[in-house]
């Protein structure tokens, strides 16, 4: 699938990324650890993906993301080096698994993608009209590349979104209500598919939100979606589920989307993130 040189480069990049993140475990080893811990037909449903994870095409996307991150760009000709993802300006290690969180400078609870866009606007001067910000869900968008680069630096670390600020708690709790809220043509809620162990839609085994070891894989985005031949984000997962649920379009970065992501991240609390993951 990939040329050998590219593969070697990807592996080298991944090794350095893993070292930076302070965990010696590669994403596939994190997943194997979970598989050894519990009996889960969700975690084990794709031996092929497990085998391919060391050569995850997402590593190449992350490499481009690193270049973008460090490059001076936008009307203000600045890099993202000073972006504060919640652990201080420029601190990337462990930042991804501690989102969404409340940011005093905006007065809002923000998820990773919303915070990234905030930094691209304030530090680099991009606006909503710029493709760097407006293009969100594709494989080759700046947002996807940057997300992968930062997310990988939390690989193997436990999800730990802060719930200290009352608004963080309020958003998480509202997200829980939304998760169980039935609506749409077919009366679906998130809970329709994600509250039972081992049940399938067609041939796909579904993750159960009440089993944290399953749920950490479920929310480990960005991931390479084999069926899409593309890397996808958390916001994209929300979008796709709601499309299947016959809901209208959810606005990327809306408080509604962040409430859902707050709840689902809390549900994986304490379990190691698999970044990047590879999904069907």
């Amino acid at each position: 699938m990939m040329r050998k040189a590219k593969k070697a480069l990807a592996l080298a990049l991944f090794m350095s990324g893993a070292a930076q993140a302070g965990t010696d475990l590669a994403p596939d080893e994190v997943l194997r650890g979970l598989i050894n811990k519990i009996d889960s037909s969700y975690l084990t449903q794709s031996p092929q993906n497990l085998m391919m994870m060391p050569d995850n095409p997402a590593y190449l996307v992350a490499e481009e993301g690193e270049q973008l991150f460090k490059q001076a760009r936008g009307p203000k000709n600045a890099s993202l080096a000073q972006c504060d993802f919640g652990k201080g300006p420029g601190v990337l290690k462990g930042a991804y698994v501690e989102l969404p969180r409340f940011f005093p400078d905006t007065g809002k609870v923000m998820d990773f993608e919303t915070r990234l866009v905030h930094c691209m606007k304030t530090l680099q001067g991009f606006t909503d009209k710029d493709a760097a910000i407006s293009k969100r869900h594709g494989a080759n968008t700046d947002i996807t590349k940057l997300t992968l680069y930062v997310a990988m630096q939390s690989n193997g670390l436990a999800w730990n979104p802060p719930l200290k600020h009352p608004l963080e708690k309020a958003m998480r709790d509202a997200g829980e209500v939304m998760f169980y809220r039935r609506a749409g043509t077919m009366d679906f809620s998130c809970a329709t598919c994600h509250t039972a162990t081992g049940s399938r839609i067609r041939a796909s085994v579904l993750p159960n939100i009440h089993v944290p070891e399953e749920w950490t894989k479920a929310i480990s985005w960005p991931a390479f979606r084999v069926g899409h031949d593309a890397t996808r984000s958390s916001q994209h997962r929300v979008l796709e589920c709601l499309w299947q649920m016959r809901y209208p379009n959810i606005r990327n970065g809306s408080d509604a989307s962040i409430a859902l992501i707050s709840f689902w991240t809390d549900a994986a609390r304490g379990q190691p993130a698999i970044l990047p993951d590879m999904k069907r």
Binding site: P104, P166, Y180, A196, S199, R202, A203, H210, D266
Partner: protein, 263 residues
């Protein structure tokens, strides 16, 4: 943990960001107004760190056109606000049935009663109400319940097309909306179906095709809550997902001895 002043400052800015984009829904407004008259002072919130369990109410400062005041905001109220009042969804998006995204997201009574949280059991009273509503919704075909064409029914049962909107709306002029059975049910041994619902393989062979069995099956497809209050299964008749003829075709797929379901 927080001092009064810093808590208030943080919350005024913060809640404003969530709550000011649109007027609050009526129930929320009422509750906030009731709180406004009280002399209660802002109290530091105990840091909520119960990471699981039922959502709780939050006392927060709300700032809107009526000024700043203390309000009790339940998770349910905030969720309703985020879904229907905060511009989080494309509420004006057209749907295939000629309504809007807002209509899709606005709950009817069955959806509301069946939005049960973690470990939630439907209590007897709720179940009775849901079943009563469901039974009342069922319309029967003139001339009685008959079986249609199992081959057409098979196509419908194995199709997930239809009524999706969001970023990629289904164009109903280019295809007939399906019945979506296969996503949740194993139907026949020739293809793999889902397991969210029970297996229906051998449906007609195991049950026979008595008038009572046909009536029961029609009712379950039309509105399954009549028998299974708060089931995951869609209301294919009551929500106009399938026509009566299409239900007859799907039933033929389940009952016809020639159908792969009974092979």
């Amino acid at each position: 943990m927080f001092k009064h002043t810093s808590l208030a400052a943080a919350l005024v800015g913060a809640t404003a960001a969530i709550l000011l984009s649109a007027p609050l829904a009526t129930p929320a407004q009422a509750q906030i107004t009731a709180q406004a008259g009280s002399t209660k002072k802002p109290v530091p919130l105990k840091t909520p760190h119960t990471t699981r369990g039922a959502p709780t109410s939050q006392e927060v400062l709300v700032m809107d056109s009526k000024g700043v005041r203390l309000a009790t905001f339940s998770a349910a109220m905030l969720a309703e606000h985020l879904v229907l009042e905060s511009d989080g969804f494309a509420l004006d998006q057209p749907t295939q049935e000629g309504t809007t995204g807002r209509d899709r997201l606005t709950q009817d009574e069955i959806q509301r009663l069946c939005s049960i949280g973690k470990n939630g059991q439907v209590d007897e009273k709720t179940a009775a109400r849901v079943s009563e509503l469901a039974a009342a919704s069922i319309k029967y075909p003139e001339g009685g319940i008959k079986l249609g064409d199992w081959k057409k029914g098979r196509e419908l049962a194995w199709s997930g097309f239809g009524f999706r909107t969001a970023h990629n709306p289904d164009d109903h002029s280019k295809g007939t909306p399906g019945a979506n059975c296969y996503n949740c049910h194993q139907l026949a041994l020739d293809r793999t179906g889902g397991t969210i619902g029970p297996s229906l393989t051998g449906y007609g062979k195991l049950r026979g095709n008595s008038p009572d069995m046909l009536k029961y099956t029609y009712e379950v497809i039309y509105n399954p809550h009549a028998y299974f209050a708060c089931t995951h299964m869609p209301r294919s008749g009551a929500k106009n997902i399938l026509t009566q003829q299409q239900i007859a075709d799907v039933m033929a797929y389940l009952f016809d001895p020639e159908s792969p379901v009974n092979k």
